[in-house]
Every structure is written in structure tokens, then in C-alpha cells.
């Protein structure tokens, strides 16, 4: 069940996310990205313990990734003491990510790795599907949700929240170690 879609019926098709078992591998993917972006959905506070949210923020900082929060969770995010983040509806952002001509938030061009976390399963599922089919070559998505998201390029697998928190923390550690 580990590498099956978390929602029973969400069977994707032939091209499925590469499931990644080791946090170090995830760290490698993030580190190797030229312009990663971290996209945090409105469900993050329902799913992730605070330490995990902080870990995700640290991961972003470590690689200098832009953080975008969606769905209007800005206030809660600020309460965590985070200041430097963008916000944009997820659909609008996804629509831009698929456009090789988009200049990004900083005007420096589009991103090459979009990291998703904190979404309703099916909502991210569909956005990841849109990006899988319609994004330019070289653009990749990484789901770091605590379940398998088959439409991403890379995904974690179905796991319990504690294990997930540790996993995310290991990604962070791994990145810090460089």
C-alpha cells in the first residue's frame, strides 16, 4: 500500500511519481534544483506538527527557495514568525508554473522544481496532473506530503505523521550537512 495512491480511486495512469524512500535522496533532488519553489497549502496546519512546518521553512531557506502559501493561511504563517513568503492561489500559481515564459516572483524566470505540501489530497493530485502533462521539459514536481502523490515527478509514500515528521526533519538535516 506504500506506493499506492492515498485516496483509493485516484489511479493516475502509466506515468507515476518516482517514490522516494530515503530523505537523503529528496535532499539531493532539492539541492540539485536550480530554482526550487516551495508551495504550502492551506491544510498544512491540519496535517503537520509545528516542528515539521519549521523544518519545511528551513529547508526552503537552506536552498534559497521562494516560499508560497496558498488558500489564505498567511496570518497563521506569520504567527510562526515567518516573514519572507509569497502568497497566491494555488491554481493561479500552477497556471504560471506551466508557462516557460513566466518570470517568477523575482522576475528571474520560472522555477524548475516545485515542492508541494499541505494540500487536500485530490486538489494537489489534480494540480500535479496538470503540471505533469502541461509543464515544459525540465520542470519537475516533488510532493513531500505524507502520502504517495502519483502525479508528481517525485513523491514520498504513505506514512504515519510521526514517521513523516522525522522524514522531513532528515531532509533538513541532510541539506544542512550539505
Amino acid at each position: 500500500m506504500k506506493f499506492e495512491p492515498y485516496q483509493t480511486a485516484e489511479i493516475p495512469g502509466p506515468l507515476k511519481a518516482i517514490p522516494i524512500e530515503r530523505p537523503q535522496t529528496v535532499a539531493g533532488i532539492i539541492r540539485n534544483a536550480k530554482r526550487p519553489i516551495v508551495i504550502i497549502g492551506s491544510k498544512i496546519f491540519d496535517v503537520a506538527p509545528e516542528r515539521t512546518i519549521r523544518d519545511i521553512i528551513e529547508i526552503s531557506r537552506e536552498v534559497g527557495a521562494e516560499i508560497v502559501v496558498t488558500g489564505g493561511i498567511n496570518r497563521k504563517f506569520e504567527e510562526l514568525g515567518v516573514k519572507e513568503f509569497r502568497s497566491m492561489p494555488a491554481m493561479e500559481l500552477a497556471d504560471r508554473l506551466r508557462d516557460p515564459g513566466w518570470k517568477g516572483f523575482d522576475g528571474k524566470g520560472n522555477y524548475d522544481l516545485a515542492i508541494f505540501v499541505g494540500f487536500r489530497y485530490y486538489y494537489a493530485w489534480l494540480i500535479l496532473s496538470g503540471l505533469k502533462h502541461f509543464s515544459p521539459d525540465g520542470f519537475r514536481t516533488l510532493s513531500i506530503e505524507p502520502y504517495y502523490q502519483p502525479h508528481a515527478t517525485f513523491s514520498l509514500y504513505n506514512m504515519k505523521i510521526d514517521a513523516w515528521a522525522d522524514y522531513i526533519s532528515s531532509i533538513k538535516e541532510s541539506l544542512k550537512r550539505g
Partner: protein, 775 residues
């Protein structure tokens, strides 16, 4: 339209080979025929392409495959082509078109049945009288077909046209037909436009014939909720969308003096419509209340007509020993056709349990059968009218093996296993907590290997609160009055009423129906015009404030600022599009008849209306939304709406996308991203509210109007996001657009972005509407 008739027999004479011109009576409608009467698939393609070049489709494939023909399944991942050559973008739009065809056909079939039936009962000449206040009775029909229908019989020609077009559209989805995604999208718009015509046919016919409220802002309140049923009486439950069988039930009870002896309550649009017909009928709720209510065991007989009825209703009815009567050719449900049998025989068979359900297509029999069966069964069914005891529930919970299949099957991923664990220990509170977020779809039960009746358990756990589920809803008033349009038209077009927000569609909520109420209240308080219909109209009535009042009691039913208008059932959605059309015609005097493009252009650029279909689920909802798009009205859906697989998104930063013609000069003028999107699935209600306020901005807003709209947008944004939006510079055209109260703050923003004043044109996307050609 010319008709050649072989032989013409009348009482007067016999003609042979007479050529007849079927025309409307001209003297009643002097308006000359516009450019696009009964448009064919491509008549409005030019307009569609204009919209689509701004609002580009973003596809979210639900599956990588196509399985529509035996060449398949084909893998369409990324750039792969199917065996027919199709690619993923076209395939997704093709599926959207298929859904919209189903939706439009559903309303059309519904309309056809109503019209046929009413013609048979009242005659073809029965006038389409929608009351004194509604002279413009059929804005969609007039706009699209160029026909001004005077009688119910006149509606046949309208339906002929719609049916023909649907066949063409459906044909376009055949393997190897249309292959371009934009052309599919243009056809989607066409289907949507037809859908509004069909809905209008259905609703104006039934309003006129059954004397439903005719645009009455003070339509009465009807009772709503699981708690409204008088359990001491026999209960007839009607479910569906086609009110005719229910009318016959009510008539029978009235004629036989039984109206106070039997409860008639309904689910879905039939419930709406029966309250428009009878002051005694009650509404249980939308489709998501269906399993819940049946599980209470209360209904003594269930009558289903068509659309959005659980297909397992027979099984559910059998569980509570209530017989089922199916009343539609479209949903026979495998039942024996008893239409031609004597009433008493049918009643006997149902009461005795010899038959669990019957199909009755003779409306005259339905009322009698339903009433008699209910009355005879009610005493026998007493023992079924109770939920299991708490002890039984706890026992049931003990069967749970904590496998988690239920949660994985749940569309909202509700934490059922957790609630079961607590229930095992006698604590039902967690189960009760799920109630608000559950859409009662039953997938958890289907998935449960222990066969646990999860929904029944949730209902039981919420029993006390359910008993208090006694709410209300203003009965569907039907059309917006012409005078109302005259009164508010200016304020809307100039932007002084910040917008019209229409809450429509089904009950497939991702996070509970209360979100809808919150949104409606927010906009009501802000003096938007809030219009509602269908399941959404019910949901909005399902919450009370501290004083025990629902929004329907707190806000008047007029089409005016800060009012809450329930137009009625799904087919009443045509009055919402109709209102937008009427603004263009009655207020702005734009020619209406067969003049689609100009009217849509008017609405897109001037009428700040937005639809929110927070729980949109069905193919009908897809078609309804498409009809709004073509008219230039944006639609926001909730998270599940992403499963419609396609967004229509503007890109506010692409300046080149936001030019219009100035109709006065012909010059191309930048007007900013108004409205920014046509179709968009929001992630949260906060996002939806901010977006709705934003989408109300239109190119034609006066500075005063824009300032008001901006105030609400910025205010809502700040409220939820805790800061100023970073795109205000795109919406301020001149200094006068800036809300006074926020002046300094906004000026600072504008400066940062290097903002410059721009013109406010007389906006249009249509070159032909330019009055003076630019040299």
C-alpha cells in the same frame, strides 16, 4: 422556419401542400431580429475565441488515459497522441464537453417533459404569464433563439432547436471529430448557452402553469431540515428534479381532503419546486441529506422522479421497508411498469410488500398510489421509524478493525477510524463531529470490510441536533422583476452595488456547508446582491444565528443590495443569467433579440456578477457554469470543482491580454485584469471570498464604483491575508478609483509599482460595436 404540409385538415377546411411560415406574432415584439438567431455551433465561435484568448484553459487531467473507443485505451501522457491522433488538451476539453452535453441534455429532457405534459394538461395556448412585474419573461430564449414565447406551445420550437444543437455537440465528441481544445471549449460554451435556454423553458413553463411565485420578493418561507417532519403523520418523501409527480401527490391530497393528514417532504430540486406549489410541503435538504433521512426510517413511501437521486435508493428504501415509486422514463431503476394497472392493485402489492417498488408513468395514478400506500403503511412502519440505540451503535463500532479503508474511500478523507475507536468506548462525540463535514455519499460504507453502517452511526450520534434541524428557506421566487432591474441596473453597472454574488450548485462541499453560509453572510453584510438556487439555497438556510434566525429571515428577498434572493430550483438558475441579460436590455437598452454577442460583451465588461458553486458536483452544474462563462460571468468552485478538469484562468500580469476597444473611438485601451478569471477552483472559502470580490470589478466601473469594489476587495484581503494585496495597481485606473479611506496606503503601493493613470473607455471586445472607427 418554413413547414411544408402534405395535407392540412382543420375544422374550417382542407388544404393540400400548403406552405406555412411559422413566425412569431410580430405586433407584440417589434424588436428586429438580431444577428444570431438560433446560433449554430460556430455562430459565436468568434466571441468564444476572444474569451479563450484571455482566459486560457488549464487542464487538470483526472486520468492519463482515454478509454472512449476500442482503439484505446490510449496513453495520452504529456505529448503522446491517442490512436485517433488526439492529445491531452483536446481530450480533456472533449470530456468537459461530454459532461456539459449530459448536463444540457438533462435540463432539456426535463424541460421537454414539462412542456409536453403541460400542453397535454393545459393546452398549447396556455399563456406564459409570469406576472405583472415580469414582462421580459424569457431573456435567455429571446436572446439566443430570437423567439418571444407567448404560450407554452411556443416553447416546443425552442426545444427543437436546443435538441438539434445538443445532437451536433455530442457528435463532436465522437472519435476523430473535433480535435482542437479551443474548439472543444467553444462548443462547451455553446452547450452552456443552450442549457440556460432549456432551464428557462422548464422554469417559466412550470411557473406559469402551476402558478409558482412570479418573481415575488416576499415569497413565503418553507420549513427545511431533518427535524421538520411531523412524525405522527404518514410521510411521503419525494426526491428529484421534476415536480410533476409531486404536484399530482399534492393535488390528490388536496382534492381528497387529506392535506392535513399526510406529510409531503422533499429532497433536491423537487423539494424546492413543491414548496413553490404547496404551502404545506417541506424540504429535507439537498442530495447529501438523502441517505441520512432515509436511514431515520421516517418516510413511509418514497417517490423518485429524475436527476441526482441516489441510484441505490431502492436498496435503501428496502432497508427501512418503505416502498419506492419511480416516476420517470429516464430512471426506471429496473422496476416493473405498473402504469396501466388499477390503482388498488398497485397499492395492495406495495402495502403487502409483494413488490418493493414500481414504475408508474401515469401521473394521474401516482398521487393516489403514493397517498394510499403512505396512509396504509404508516401504522405498520412504526418500528422502522427509529434509529438504532446507542448501545447498538457501540456494538457496531466494535466491529471496526481500524483498517482505514473508509478514510481512504472518503472524498473528504474524514477520520472515521478515529471516531470508531472512540465510539467503541461509548463516546459518540467524534462521530457526531464528522456530521458537518460529511456529504453522506456512502463510499465509506461501501469500502468497509466489516460492513459497518457508518452513516447511520453518524446520524444517530447527531440525533439530538438533528431533531433541532428545523430551519427555513425562502421559497423560490423565480424571475427577477423588470422593475427591480430598472431600480438597481444603474448601481450595478456603475459599480455602486459592489456586485451580484450567486451561490449555486450542489452540495459536494470539501469542508462542510457552513462555509457557504459564512460566505453568503459576508457578502450580504457588505451589501452585495446575493442570489441563490438549488442545493446551495438549501444549505444556506441550514444555519441559524444566535437568535435562531437563518439568513432568509435576516435579509429581505429583493433583488437589491444586501438582499438574499432564492430564485428556486436548478432550472431557476436561468433567472440569474436572465437578470444579467435583463440589465443589459432593460436598463441599458441594448437590443436583446438574437443579439448574443453584444449582450455577453456588455455583461462581461459591465455587470459585476460572479457565481460561486461551492459544492458543484454534477454534469448539470458544469453546463450551468459554461452558460455563465459565455455570457461573461465568472464562476468560482470549491476544491472538488477542480475535478471538472479544467480551469479558465486569466494572467493579470500579461498586459497584452487586457485590452478592449473604446466603443467611442475604436482605440485599444488597457483596462486591467477585469474580471481576472472565468473559472477557478478555490482552495478555501477565504480565497473564494477575496476572489469573488475581485472578480466583480469590470472594465466599465465608474471611479466611484471601482472605489467601492476595491474597498471590499482590499478589505477582505486584509481580513484574511493580513496585508494589502500586491496587485492593486492593476485595478486602479485613475486616482479617483482609490477608496478614500485607504488613500495613503494605496498611493504608497502604487508608487512602488510605478503606476500610471490609464483611461476608462466605453469598453467592448467587439470591433463591430465601435461607433467611430479609428483612422
Amino acid at each position: 422556419m418554413t413547414l411544408k404540409i402534405g395535407e392540412l385538415k382543420t375544422d374550417v377546411a382542407t388544404f393540400r401542400n400548403l406552405e406555412i411560415v411559422l413566425g412569431r406574432v410580430e405586433e407584440e415584439w417589434e424588436e428586429p431580429l438580431g444577428p444570431t438567431p438560433m446560433p449554430s455551433i460556430t455562430s459565436l465561435r468568434k466571441w468564444d475565441y476572444k474569451l479563450l484568448s484571455r482566459y486560457k484553459p488549464f487542464y487538470l487531467p483526472f486520468c492519463d488515459l482515454c478509454c472512449l473507443c476500442t482503439f484505446g485505451k490510449c496513453d495520452l501522457t504529456k505529448d503522446k497522441k491517442g490512436a485517433c491522433g488526439i492529445k491531452m488538451d483536446a481530450q480533456q476539453s472533449r470530456i468537459v464537453l461530454l459532461a456539459c452535453c449530459i448536463g444540457a441534455a438533462t435540463h432539456t429532457g426535463h424541460a421537454r417533459e414539462i412542456v409536453e405534459f403541460l400542453i397535454e394538461r393545459f393546452g398549447r395556448d396556455y399563456p406564459l404569464d409570469l406576472g405583472d412585474q415580469v414582462a421580459l419573461e424569457a431573456p435567455n430564449i429571446r436572446l439566443v433563439t430570437g423567439i418571444k414565447p407567448r404560450t407554452i406551445g411556443d416553447l416546443e420550437e425552442v426545444l427543437d432547436y436546443v435538441e438539434e444543437q445538443i445532437a451536433h455537440l455530442l457528435a463532436s465528441t465522437h472519435t476523430g471529430q473535433e480535435g482542437n481544445n479551443l474548439d472543444f471549449e467553444s462548443k462547451v460554451f455553446h452547450a452552456g448557452m443552450l442549457d440556460h435556454v432549456a432551464m428557462e423553458v422548464a422554469d417559466i413553463a412550470q411557473i406559469a402553469a402551476f402558478n409558482f411565485p412570479k418573481g415575488d420578493p416576499e415569497a413565503p418561507l418553507a420549513q427545511l431540515g431533518l427535524g421538520v417532519v411531523d412524525l405522527s403523520k404518514p410521510v411521503i418523501l419525494v426526491i428529484g428534479h421534476n415536480v410533476i409527480p409531486s404536484v399530482y401527490i399534492v393535488d390528490y391530497l388536496n382534492e381528497t381532503g387529506l392535506k392535513d393528514e399526510v406529510e409531503v417532504c422533499g429532497l433536491c430540486c423537487t423539494a424546492h419546486d413543491i414548496t413553490r406549489y404547496s404551502d404545506r410541503a417541506k424540504i429535507i435538504g439537498p442530495i447529501s441529506w438523502e441517505l441520512r433521512f432515509i436511514r431515520t426510517g421516517v418516510p413511509d413511501v418514497i417517490v423518485v422522479d429524475e436527476q441526482c437521486i441516489r441510484t441505490d435508493v431502492l436498496d435503501e428504501a428496502m432497508k427501512i421497508n418503505a416502498p419506492l415509486i419511480a416516476a420517470s422514463e429516464k430512471a426506471c431503476r429496473g422496476l416493473p411498469d405498473r402504469s396501466n394497472d388499477p390503482v388498488e392493485e398497485i397499492v395492495e402489492d406495495l402495502v403487502s410488500g409483494r413488490q418493493k417498488g414500481v414504475l408508474i408513468l401515469d401521473m394521474d395514478k401516482i398521487g393516489e398510489v403514493a397517498a394510499k400506500v403512505a396512509i396504509r403503511l404508516a401504522p405498520k412502519r412504526k418500528k422502522f421509524k427509529a434509529l438504532p440505540s446507542v448501545e447498538e451503535i457501540v456494538e457496531e463500532a466494535k466491529k471496526c478493525r481500524n483498517c482505514g479503508f473508509c478514510q481512504k474511500a472518503c472524498p473528504n478523507s474524514l477520520p472515521i477510524p478515529e471516531a470508531m475507536a472512540r465510539a467503541k468506548e461509548g463516546d459518540l462525540s467524534k462521530l457526531a463531529d464528522l456530521y458537518d463535514y460529511c456529504i453522506a455519499c456512502g463510499r465509506c460504507e461501501s469500502a468497509c470490510p466489516s460492513g459497518i453502517n457508518i452513516i447511520t452511526m453518524m446520524v444517530k450520534s447527531s440525533e439530538r441536533r438533528i431533531k433541532n434541524e428545523i430551519f427555513n428557506v425562502r421559497v423560490g421566487r423565480g424571475p427577477i422583476q423588470d422593475t427591480e432591474i430598472r431600480d438597481v441596473g444603474r448601481s450595478i453597472v456603475l459599480g455602486e452595488i459592489p456586485g451580484i454574488i450567486a451561490f449555486v450548485g450542489c452540495a459536494n462541499y470539501a469542508d462542510g456547508g457552513h462555509e457557504l453560509v459564512e460566505m453568503a453572510e459576508e457578502f450580504l453584510k457588505r451589501k452585495y446582491i446575493v442570489v441563490v438556487s438549488g442545493c446551495a439555497a438549501m444549505t444556506i438556510g441550514m444555519y441559524k444565528n444566535e437568535e435562531g434566525k437563518t439568513l432568509y429571515e435576516l435579509y429581505p428577498g429583493n433583488f437589491d443590495a444586501g438582499c438574499l434572493v432564492n430564485v428556486g430550483s436548478c432550472v431557476s438558475n436561468s433567472h440569474i443569467s436572465g437578470a444579467a441579460i435583463k440589465i443589459a436590455n432593460i436598463f441599458a437598452k441594448r437590443p436583446l433579440r438574437a443579439n448574443y454577442m453584444e449582450i455577453a460583451d456588455y455583461i462581461l465588461n459591465r455587470v459585476g456578477a460572479v457565481g460561486i458553486a461551492w459544492g458543484a458536483m454534477s454534469q448539470k452544474a458544469a453546463a450551468i457554469a459554461s452558460g455563465f462563462w459565455r455570457l461573461g460571468v465568472p464562476v468560482i468552485v470549491g476544491p472538488h470543482g477542480a475535478k471538472y478538469r479544467r480551469m479558465l484562468l486569466g494572467r493579470k500580469e500579461r498586459k497584452e491580454d487586457w485590452y478592449v476597444y473604446d466603443a467611442r473611438t475604436g482605440k485599444k485601451v488597457y483596462v486591467g485584469p477585469v474580471p481576472e478569471h472565468l473559472f477557478y477552483a478555490a482552495e478555501t472559502k477565504e480565497e473564494a471570498m477575496v476572489m469573488a470580490a475581485k472578480l466583480c470589478m469590470r472594465a466599465n466601473d465608474t471611479t466611484k464604483g471601482r472605489a467601492i469594489k476595491l474597498t471590499h476587495y482590499i478589505d477582505l484581503y486584509k481580513k484574511f491575508y493580513g496585508k494589502m494585496p500586491d496587485d492593486i495597481h492593476l485595478f486602479v485606473r485613475r486616482l479617483a478609483d482609490i477608496p478614500i479611506t485607504m488613500k495613503d496606503e494605496i498611493l504608497a503601493e502604487l508608487k512602488k509599482k510605478g503606476w500610471k493613470e490609464t483611461e476608462i473607455p466605453d469598453p467592448t471586445l467587439i470591433e463591430e460595436l465601435v461607433r467611430v472607427k479609428e483612422e
